[in-house]
Symmetry: C2
């Protein structure tokens, strides 16, 4: 590699749409540790909201004993909680469904991993108290706009069942990777819900309401629902925790290689337990070997695991390389994706082809 400064090459986000902004991470070209701001995928349903305040507030109301408005100063004074977590868009890898699914054509980069610091939602509820019949926590973002399928204006609003909301690692974050959250990722406050697809991690929090019923907003009951049948909505169920998954970062799909030794490497993650094995096949699935797994942070947390496999190839030809992750709940990537109308939760065995010449 030349040391000429001119030769420095940058990867950029991959633009899927600009209004609203949807750009994905070039996952093949970035280090496997915490995703830096400028390579963090951007996923928006609406235009960016306008925030005019110099001081920020989160009102918590509804089925609570003491409705309270928390300021940013209040939050900073409360005990903090840090979580290292993957945030993966439910539509990550949608582009690979057959038949094709409408919507953002995410390839493999609608996912991130980073360090979020904030206050556990449960800590706030200790202050507000909860009524006995409290059932769900509704979190509303400042972003709003039109949907193509409905005639009203909606804000981006989601609910969490009380049990998940009370998990100590479900936080109202105010820092990402040791700095205030970047505006495009939810400044000043973002809900961060580890183990769940990132639709749950509402950005630009405007207010929180506790209800004793079931929330019915369109981002809960129309989108982010698995509809397994093409023709009708039978058998539908909510998108919640991340499926077990892996992505090959190197080599590239359709890359030409020389004979010799090549490092196959990538990441693996799950929404349940931890990654126990990543198996690699270099012959299209006939035989499998274990990759070496390294957890990036030493501790488990909710990070992705990096893995690598040393491949010695002496014969020329075309090769199909597969990666298959398994988690501690014995969930394993399936050979075929679970097709659903809106294209969520793709986690089939990852696959690339290379040519050795």
């Amino acid at each position: 590699m030349s040391r000429d400064p001119f030769s420095f090459n940058n990867p950029y986000l991959i633009t899927r749409s600009l209004y609203p902004e949807n750009q994905e991470t070039p996952i093949h070209f970035i280090p496997s540790n915490h995703t830096p701001d400028h390579l963090f995928f951007r996923r928006n349903h609406f235009p960016y909201p306008t925030l005019n305040q110099s001081r920020f507030w989160i009102p918590i109301g509804g089925s609570v004993l003491n409705p309270t408005i928390f300021s940013n100063y209040d939050l900073l004074k409360l005990p903090s909680k840090t979580v290292n977590t993957v945030l993966e868009c439910a539509g990550n890898k949608r582009n690979f469904f057959e038949p094709n699914v409408f919507g953002e054509q995410w390839e493999k980069g609608a996912t991130s991993m980073g360090k979020w610091k904030g206050v556990s939602l449960g800590t706030l509820f200790e202050i507000t108290g909860l009524e006995k019949d409290a059932k769900e926590v509704i979190v509303e973002g400042y972003d709003y706009g039109n949907r193509t399928d409905l005639d009203q204006i909606y804000t981006y609003t989601r609910s969490l069942p009380l049990e998940k909301a009370l998990h100590p690692d479900t936080i109202i974050a105010y820092e990402y990777n040791d700095k205030p959250i970047p505006f495009k990722h939810g400044f000043p406050f973002r809900l961060v819900v580890p183990n769940w697809y990132a639709m749950a991690s509402v950005k630009w929090i405007k207010q929180i309401n506790i209800i004793n019923t079931t929330f019915e907003g369109p981002f809960q009951t129309v989108d982010y629902v698995y509809y397994p049948k093409k023709e009708n909505d039978e058998g539908s169920f909510l998108v919640t925790i991340n499926n077990v998954n892996s992505t090959i970062q190197q080599p590239l799909h359709m890359e030409k290689l020389e004979t010799g030794r090549h490092m196959i490497k990538g990441i693996a993650w799950t929404g349940k337990g931890e990654i126990t094995t990543v198996e690699i096949s270099t012959d299209g699935g006939e035989t499998w070997s274990n990759a070496a797994i390294a957890h990036t942070d030493g501790v488990h947390d909710y990070t992705w695991s990096t893995w690598s496999f040393d491949w010695m190839v002496s014969e020329k030809g075309e090769f199909t390389i597969l990666s298959r992750a398994r988690d501690s709940y014995d969930r394993v990537q399936p050979p075929n994706p679970f097709w659903n109308q809106k294209g969520y939760g793709y986690n089939a065995i990852d696959q690339i082809k290379v040519k050795v010449e």
Copy 2:
């Protein structure tokens, strides 16, 4: 659209590989006039070369009467020539071939359009003179390295037949869009060959040699050759002029739209003559209508044409939208691409799907 400065969204290049650097233009998201530097696709066979000089030279030798070394000052003193031209990578749209072809998986953005200023090669040959048996002009770049398929080090070197080299619009360029050529696009001197795929437009020119034989370098006789058969090299021929082609910039593939009026728009270009019609189908090819064509510069030159079509859609459902360009030589985009081993010259009718809901 909010006027909040935070809401400003940038498109970026799409990274295909970093070493060597291959990044494509997000063609759907950029204005249709001259491609700015930072969105100009980057296509490299090798690492960027190291240029240590503060003064640059182009030696012209071989079958010439007066071998001459031209400095950058010499070139600036000679009569200049400006060409506005498309430069499209021969592998543009390779990703869409079926069966898949190995190599960079370019989608639709390995193409650019801009204003190049320099000196006609013919003007330099008036000074050097040419021997009577001169047949080809070899142009060598400063970039060099290994190839996966051969064991030697090669520079990036190509030849042009004398007739094409002597065309007044074949220039040694020293400016792009009114500024010195950006380093990554060939500073200080780039050969610019309008109407030919961009492999002919050698970057970082090191030297020029005239020969009376046929050049046999690997970027002339191994790469940039159409091999129409999968099994053998029968019927092969050189990649030269651009095929007639078009790309739909808007709407996006797999986009969801509301019923109503939508602008379908894009670009069309050819390596022979000019674009005469662009036809649009919104029913998968059953019926076709002419799009309105606007040449971006008022004059023809070698620019792409922009086109648009007003689409009123009142029924919901899935639609396949096609664009088909025709040029003044009556060349027209075919329904199916001309498959070839290395995936060059893809120019099938452009196609996207949208869902109206």
